[in-house]
Amino acid sequence: MEIFGEMDFSAIWKYREPLLWGLLTTLWMAFAAFFMAVPGGLLLAFGRLKGGWIVNIPIMAFVDLMRFTPLLVQAVWIHFALPIFTGASMTATQSGLLALTLHVSAYICDIIRSGITAVPHGQWEAAKALGLKPYISFFKVILPQVWPLVLPALANVAVSTFKLTAILGILAVDDLMKVANRINNMVFRPIEVYTSVALIYLACGLILTVLAAWFERRYGSDRLDRIAVERPAPAVIVHNELYGR
């Protein structure tokens, strides 16, 4: 295989600074989108459970639309079609971040919703019997029990948010993937460029996965045991098996 002899990684080293900036862009976008999506998803889940049908139907439509269309289509739609609608044009980073946040918040809405419904109804009744106001019983009684339940699924969504940022490169957001494409267009060494970028993504993805597993062990399962939850359905067991635990 003479191809290995011809490889030249010096071009990658030459462009280490743009690559680093690309990596930082990827990381902060994933971070920002995820931490905007958590309150967003919480709000959606709350509206879905406690709102009447007037709140319910738009939320259901929004969540289904976000979950059942590809992020790529959503990002392109928000960047190119939405300005025609609103008249205000957005930069690639803004529309990319908006698309990612909306997409992820729909997933988080579903996760938190199932988490809230998994808390036994007696907890609501007990809070009411103690004379707690509804919002206090939600934030102080129910929600603290929801987090450990949904943590494995949320950690999984965090990792996939990081992976989804690679798609935003198509909007000329200068994330790691886009920077790699630009470098490749200049030096035309696809093997070296894409292999290095894949390795960078792999390292970040593995670190995130390990972090997520640590987080779960620290805050998830051992607290989970202390909570009186009903025996989970097989589908839930499969879900837990799939997303850690």
Binding site: I3, F68, F80, A81, M177, A180, T195, A198, P234, A235
Partner: protein
């Protein structure tokens, strides 16, 4: 501002050709992912040994790298390494299939491990041969449990085929984007394909939820 959806209708044949390519790449990816997932699952279920480690490593790596990066790598780096050309459709679908294989492995493994332990013990007590335990006791129950997450992953895979647009495969998303750019009718075309994806995925996902509920009811 006015919308003219007639332009979408007059270009519908082009979009439908795109949908065909989308479904084709979905099928290729599934044809790779399904057997791969089964093999990896079999390797991972052995608790120790080289095969289990290999499968574990494969799953960790392919779940950590974004599909997009995998597709670009397969498109640009694989052909020079193996010495012959691959079309965008082939290499893109291959990348999606390899990634999905890792996910399916986890889905199958989760299902097998969720089958009640007593089933193994009973089969052992009845002295059933290993083969019969797997084929007639465990697999039918595991398959039932695996259906909802499997279908959910299929919808994810279908959404993933849009990424092939980035390496120039003329599937649904790329075609409508190009048509939008040619006619400056982004809104109509992009809305139209968003709807097409929704119409394809929505019933499938709802079906999965339906089965999930039925399974939950049957076991509780």
């Amino acid at each position: 501002m006015e919308f003219n959806f007639n332009i979408v209708l007059s270009n519908l044949p082009t979009l439908m050709d795109g949908l065909k390519i989308t479904l084709l790449s979905f099928t290729i990816a599934l044809a790779i992912a399904f057997p791969l997932g089964l093999i990896l699952c079999g390797m991972r279920l052995r608790k120790t040994g080289f095969a289990a480690r290999l499968a574990q490593g494969y799953v960790a790596v392919f779940r950590a790298i974004p599909e997009m990066v995998m597709i670009f790598w397969m498109f640009y780096c694989l052909p020079p390494l193996i010495g012959f050309k691959l079309s965008g459709l082939t290499s893109g679908s291959l990348a999606l299939g390899l990634v999905s294989g890792a996910y399916l492995c986890e889905i199958f493994r989760g299902a097998v491990q969720s089958v009640a332990k007593g089933q193994w013990e009973v089969s052992d007590a009845l002295a059933l041969p290993r083969r019969a335990i797997w084929l007639r006791v465990i697999t039918p129950q595991a398959a039932k449990l695996a259906i909802p997450p499997f279908i959910n992953h299929m919808t994810e895979l279908l959404k993933g085929t849009t990424l092939l647009a980035t390496i120039g495969v003329a599937e649904l998303a790329l075609r409508s984007y190009v048509l939008g750019a040619q006619t400056f009718r982004y809104f109509e075309f992009l809305t139209a394909i968003a709807l097409i994806y929704f119409v394809v995925i929505f019933p499938v996902a709802r079906f999965a939820e339906h089965i999930e509920r039925k399974l939950a009811k049957a076991t509780s």
